[in-house]
């Protein structure tokens, strides 16, 4: 029995692999048109980032003289030199961000995956109950103060990296999206035949569902990675230890300080001018934007692999 269903699946997959290159492609002119369209859109997305890079290598004085310009009057790598020379804290922050992102994504995928899988199973008796459990928090939250109390006083996570990891590892949106992926990309027949074979839910989840739902998992993995990489709020709330500050908060803190000092100028008068003078310069800020964004851009293709592979991985092959 088991051997048969296995063989059946294998056959199906082989057939699909063979057909994949065969199913018809668009005509060349259409292809060119699509490419042009996408290229233009991509350009629009790249330009501002390019702009940020240019500002980061503009000479501070010529920036002050001319404002933001696409073609800098004078190029200077001072900002990067500064970051490298004062690098200790930035390297530390890099470490924190990477550790948090990797751990958080793995943990988050595991928790989201198991929960979403259970919800996707039609014969799960508590499906509705557990869906309700995640729907309410999607809208209602206790607010900053209540969260702070729970995280610091009940869970005792203050000034630990867990305060950066745990609050973000699950969310209702990801679960529901992944549940939908499971529902649509895993045929009931596959699950049922495996069940008949006597496979436990664990086995089903780890050995059949995960390989079959790779695009979905990759999507959620990407979302998790991005949310961890971009997170600064939890750091602001729960981290006072300067050694545990993630990169993004380092940047946001500078941004919000500059912004705040500028808008409270009238209130602070000369004191504000003095405080602002101690802030990192514009070029340094932009350089931090660049160095905090570049690595994550390379994380994207890593997840992207799984989009193309999808079903062809060999769903149930050991």
């Amino acid at each position: 029995m088991a051997a048969m269903s296995q063989r059946k699946l294998e056959k199906r997959i082989k057939k699909m692999e063979a057909k994949e290159c065969q199913y018809n492609q668009i005509k060349t002119p259409t292809n060119i048109l699509f490419n042009i369209l996408l290229a233009i859109l991509s350009l629009f997305c790249i330009i501002p980032f390019l702009f940020v890079i240019i500002i980061s290598i503009t000479d501070e004085n010529s920036l002050a003289m001319n404002g933001y310009r696409f073609i800098p009057e004078k190029i200077s790598f001072y900002a990067y030199e500064y970051i490298i020379s004062a690098g200790e804290s930035i390297i530390k922050s890099y470490g924190v961000t990477i550790l948090v992102t990797v751990l958080g994504t793995v943990l988050g995928l595991l928790l989201t995956g198991t929960y979403a899988y259970a919800l996707s199973r039609k014969n799960y008796a508590f499906r509705k109950f557990f869906t309700t459990v995640i729907t309410i928090p999607m809208l209602f939250s206790g607010g900053m103060i209540a969260n702070y109390l729970i995280v610091t006083k009940v869970l005792m996570l203050k000034d630990t990296i867990w305060a950066l990891i745990l609050p973000l590892c699950l969310n209702s949106f990801n679960i529901i999206v992944l549940r939908t992926f499971f529902k649509t990309s895993i045929p009931d027949a596959v699950v049922e035949s495996a069940k008949i074979d006597g496979a436990s839910e664990w086995r089903l989840f780890f050995q059949i569902v995960i390989p079959m739902a790779l695009p979905g998992l990759a999507t959620i993995g990407l979302f998790l990675t991005l949310s961890y990489w971009n997170d600064w709020f939890n750091a602001m709330m729960y981290i006072d230890d300067q050694n545990l500050i993630p990169l993004q908060y380092l940047l946001i803190r500078i941004e919000s300080s500059i912004d705040w000092l500028a808008s409270n100028k009238a209130m602070m008068g000369v004191d504000g001018v003095q405080a602002a003078a101690n802030m990192p310069k514009e070029t340094i800020k932009m350089a931090i934007v660049v160095i905090s964004t570049l690595p994550i851009i390379f994380a994207y293709p890593f997840f992207q692999r799984y989009f193309v592979n999808g079903l062809t991985v060999g769903a149930v092959k050991e």
């Binding site: 002050a64 003289m65 001319n66 404002g67 004062a86 804290s89 550790l99 990797v102 751990l103 793995v106 943990l107 595991l110 900053m144 103060i145 702070y148 109390l149 610091t152 006083k153 000034d159 630990t160 990296i161 867990w162 990891i165 780890f206 050995q207 995960i210 390989p211 602001m236 709330m237 006072d240 300067q242 545990l244 803190r253 500078i254 941004e255 919000s256 300080s257 500059i258 912004d259 705040w260 000092l261 500028a262 808008s263 409270n264 100028k265 009238a266 209130m267 602070m268 008068g269 000369v270 004191d271 001018v273 003095q274 405080a275 602002a276 003078a277 101690n278 802030m279 092959k317 050991e318």
Partner: protein, 495 residues
């Protein structure tokens, strides 16, 4: 095969868990005592401003000194300028462990927190302290909320001094009699001259944070009491004659092209060449501005300097109402505000690392002879920028040494400036906004919407002033004025 991948993931996760556990590390130490047998207590002190790289080093040095002297050790936590309000709101309201914090009229609001019960009443602890006598009594007066003191003021300039800031280059070129220019109207001929003769220069450069010269104490913006109005009549800023004419003048300037066209949204762009701009100053503000702009400026006050609750509450340190060590906290704050060594250590960092002593030129020293707060040494900052804090965040200005490029009698001048500042008639009055908190919440939006464009003359006051009034009325300004008037009458009667 897939299972193996997951196993590897799990292993990676485990390693991560363990390394995270290591990072988390360390708990609180046992009770210690100093040489004189006193038990050492640790006080958590929250400050505004960005964390400094060498903060731990400096604070370690501070602790070395204070542990011996008064048996106190501090743990300094900082929250960035932009985050401080939010962070302190959480820390204070959740009853987190903190002992002292920075508070003032423009961040971590002193009045609100004092009213809310967050801060400790300090009166009984203060009586016999040295700082209670050395700090200008008007600061202590300003620190009183409903007759009780809730914070130790950092002694600095007591009033805010709105000024016109001229670019020296043009002042010299056209012989502008800067000292004779005060009001907005005084500027007109010179703006015209610049407009005609200096094409690349903005005659009056304004940014979105500009507010037109206001001759009143805005107790609850835009409601307040006019300077010099001893009858204490509460007014709406936009209904005062002075403001109305100011707005008309601004509009005239704007239409004449004296003002930069993007004034209502611009943020200060140092690359813009300007003839004059407005700044909020203090003694020697020109030095700061010149350094910031990288060219020389000269400034002239727009009006007399008035002391208001807002201006005199420029910086204070409050103690947690729930602290376990109130006496120690006050003792520590007293030391900060009276001990020269500690004050300079906190403010400038470690000698030899962040700064060095320099001698005062004899001539200068002789000239300053007899003035208060004149020290026999100055400070030269080193190249290191790893410890830079704002003076008033931690304590008063006057027991710090001045920098080498500053006059040795800098603080004496500040003292004089404070003495000359006039108390506004409403000085000492606190508005309890609780009965009208709903109405007041509406003001923020209305002021943001119209304030900037009206102040800079970007829109026609004939059209927009009525619109503004209408919206203020819709949010209930009448009720606020009424409430404030009744409170101020009561205050006056009890004075």
């Amino acid at each position: 095969m897939k299972l193996k991948v997951w196993k590897r993931f799990a292993a990676a996760a485990m390693i991560g868990v363990m390394s995270a556990g290591l990072l988390a590390g360390c708990g609180k130490g046992k009770t210690e005592t100093n040489e004189s047998g006193e038990e050492i207590v640790e006080l958590v002190w929250w400050q505004i401003g960005d964390a400094q790289k060498d903060q731990e080093k400096v604070i370690a040095k501070v602790n070395e000194y204070t542990e011996e002297k008064i048996g106190v050790r501090v743990k300094v936590n900082t929250a960035g300028w932009g985050d401080y309000d939010q962070k302190m709101q959480v820390i204070i309201n959740t009853g987190d462990d903190w002992d002292m914090c920075f508070t003032c009229s423009w961040a971590n609001n002193y009045l609100q927190n004092a009213n809310k019960g967050a801060f400790l009443e300090l009166d009984e602890y203060l009586k016999d302290t040295e700082m209670y006598n050395t700090i200008d009594e008007r600061f202590w007066e300003a620190a009183k909320v409903k007759g009780k003191t809730y914070g130790v003021p950092s002694e600095k300039e007591i009033g805010s001094m709105p000024m016109w800031v001229f670019t020296k280059e043009y002042v010299d070129k056209y012989n502008v009699p800067v000292d004779e220019i005060h009001s907005l109207e005084d500027l007109e001929p010179w703006l015209k001259l610049i407009k005609e003769n200096e094409p690349g220069v903005v005659p009056l450069y304004l940014t979105s944070s500009y507010s037109a010269p206001t001759y009143m104490d805005l107790i609850q913006n835009p409601v307040g009491i006019e300077y010099g109005d001893e009858s204490l009549t509460v007014k709406n800023l936009f209904e005062t004659e002075k403001m109305k004419s100011t707005l008309d003048t601004m509009r005239k300037y704007y239409l004449a092209g004296y003002v930069n066209q993007d004034a209502a949204t611009a943020s200060d762009d140092k690359s813009v060449k300007r003839f004059v701009t407005k700044g909020d100053g203090q003694p020697y503000a020109e030095l700061v501005w010149s350094k910031d702009l990288k060219y020389d400026v000269v400034a002239t006050p727009i009006m007399d300097t008035y002391v208001t609750n807002i201006s005199a509450r420029g910086a204070l340190t409050a103690v947690n109402a729930q602290t376990e060590h109130p006496e120690k906290a006050v003792e520590f704050l007293n030391l900060v505000n009276t001990d020269e060594y500690l004050r300079n250590l906190l403010n400038y960092g470690i000698e030899g690392e962040h700064w060095n002593y320099v001698d005062v030129p004899e001539e200068e020293a002789a000239a300053a002879e007899g003035k208060p707060y004149v020290y026999d040494k100055k400070i030269a900052l080193t190249e290191s920028t790893d410890y830079r804090v704002s003076y008033w965040v931690q304590g008063g200005l006057f027991n710090t040494y001045v920098l080498e490029n500053e006059p040795i009698d800098k603080w004496a001048t500040f003292k004089e400036f404070n003495a000359e500042s006039v108390a506004a008639p409403s000085f000492g009055f606190d508005f309890d906004l609780e009965p009208v908190s709903t109405e007041v919440a509406g003001f923020g939006n209305v002021m943001d919407e119209f304030g900037k464009s009206l102040f800079t003359g970007s829109v026609d006051p004939k059209e927009y002033l009525p619109k503004l009034q209408e919206k203020l009325e819709a949010t209930g300004i009448e009720k606020v004025i009424e409430e404030m008037q009744s409170q101020i009458d009561e205050w006056k009667a009890g004075k």
